[in-house]
Symmetry: C2
Subunit: 265 residues, 2 copies
Amino acid sequence: MGLTLTPLAGIPLIQPGDDLAKIILSGLDATQIHLEDGDILVLAQKIVSKAEGRLVNLAGVTASPRAIELARNTEKDPRLVEVILSESNEVLRTRPGTIIVEHRLGFVCASAGVDHSNVSLALDPEIKGSAEEYFREEWVLLLPVDPDASASLIREGLEVACGKRLGVLIIDSHGRAWRLGTVGVAIGISGLPGLVDLRGTPDLAGYVLKITLVAAADELAAAASLVMGQAAEGTPIVHVRGFPYPLREGNLNELLRPRQEDMFR
Amino acid sequence: MGLTLTPLAGIPLIQPGDDLAKIILSGLDATQIHLEDGDILVLAQKIVSKAEGRLVNLAGVTASPRAIELARNTEKDPRLVEVILSESNEVLRTRPGTIIVEHRLGFVCASAGVDHSNVSLALDPEIKGSAEEYFREEWVLLLPVDPDASASLIREGLEVACGKRLGVLIIDSHGRAWRLGTVGVAIGISGLPGLVDLRGTPDLAGYVLKITLVAAADELAAAASLVMGQAAEGTPIVHVRGFPYPLREGNLNELLRPRQEDMFR
């Protein structure tokens, strides 16, 4: 009983085109973990995006008038704002340094998940010729096009290789409306529940619970994010054993509050 | 390396006046865990509140006109609404079935953390005479008066007993503005950081990270909440080994976004 989260050892810097299932299998070997039914692999969004080549060179981006105005208000690079807008359904709030949007995938987050801070892989010589060119060209990294599909593809690769029933979760770090600091949240789900509905489950005294829709995938995302810890340590893949709910097909949309139920937009 | 979360076995139903440090030590014995420096114990709010006797009998509550009106709009018991208001600084949003408040402790949550669903301990014969009386009297449970202080008291009891440097975290389940389902969050902290500031830490490519205020205590709260799982299984205390950040004194206030920075109130 209990939950064990283990960062995989020996994960290389990910390059566009990399086969993440293969890299995970090597990492499991290096960490001496043998997959069992019910295990879950959690991946940082950054490496999935990199493997999928979701890099944009700001040098090739032309900012629209709307992006230029928003950039002025938020003190950001207009070309970066253009990319953020292209990844967003709606801008919810802005202030200097901050743009809160509804991402095209439906969740609310800062900067549509686009940031300069996570482009270390652009140092790959396939992408640019020199570190000097890299810094001049200013690559940024977008979220995967369809993180649920990314998770499913990785899961399929793992399940075919090991013959076990697994889950794969892709996570990012989001801020919250009323609390400081970021927490890991699910952005792509395959083979595990997003939400778990405990409504109707009696508690110890025979009472029926009231607050019983548990965001199990987000709780797991936060746990794995804690283990990934400082990006400097380079542990973007975490193996999970002991997830307490039955695995089933799941997806990101389960976790998104429908707009008509949103009281804070 | 890695994070291990283990629910403690053999935890009895908690009664007002119980010594939680002693109960934790018994549970650790029953689970065959020997405390080490850096270990953290995570407790569900419910048992801390029960041990502290934070029970209110709605039969003895008189609803104010304000509570009666709010109860009408939200389809709740006016006496329950009175208790919710008494635990709140401000009502932020209401709709049928839902009252979102700023709790007197400063965080935003539904119903000020007060609920019928978590009063199983009121079945204690010290509190009432019979199950029939229990259901007639309708006890509800409030959050601890000062959860940081509650956590510190428990930690002191544990540290004196074992001679190790520990952390204690008290958690509740909160909803989120834009995502469905609840996640565990910190409401009381002793001996571990609420926030971890990684600003200035270089990433693997020598870049300086940008999003680097991590709500480490909330990530741990979510992880422990996942392990506590269904309340029906009765595992309100979780032992944690492998928390990746250095322990230090910490508190709830670190995690609360100052009102003047709140863009969604």
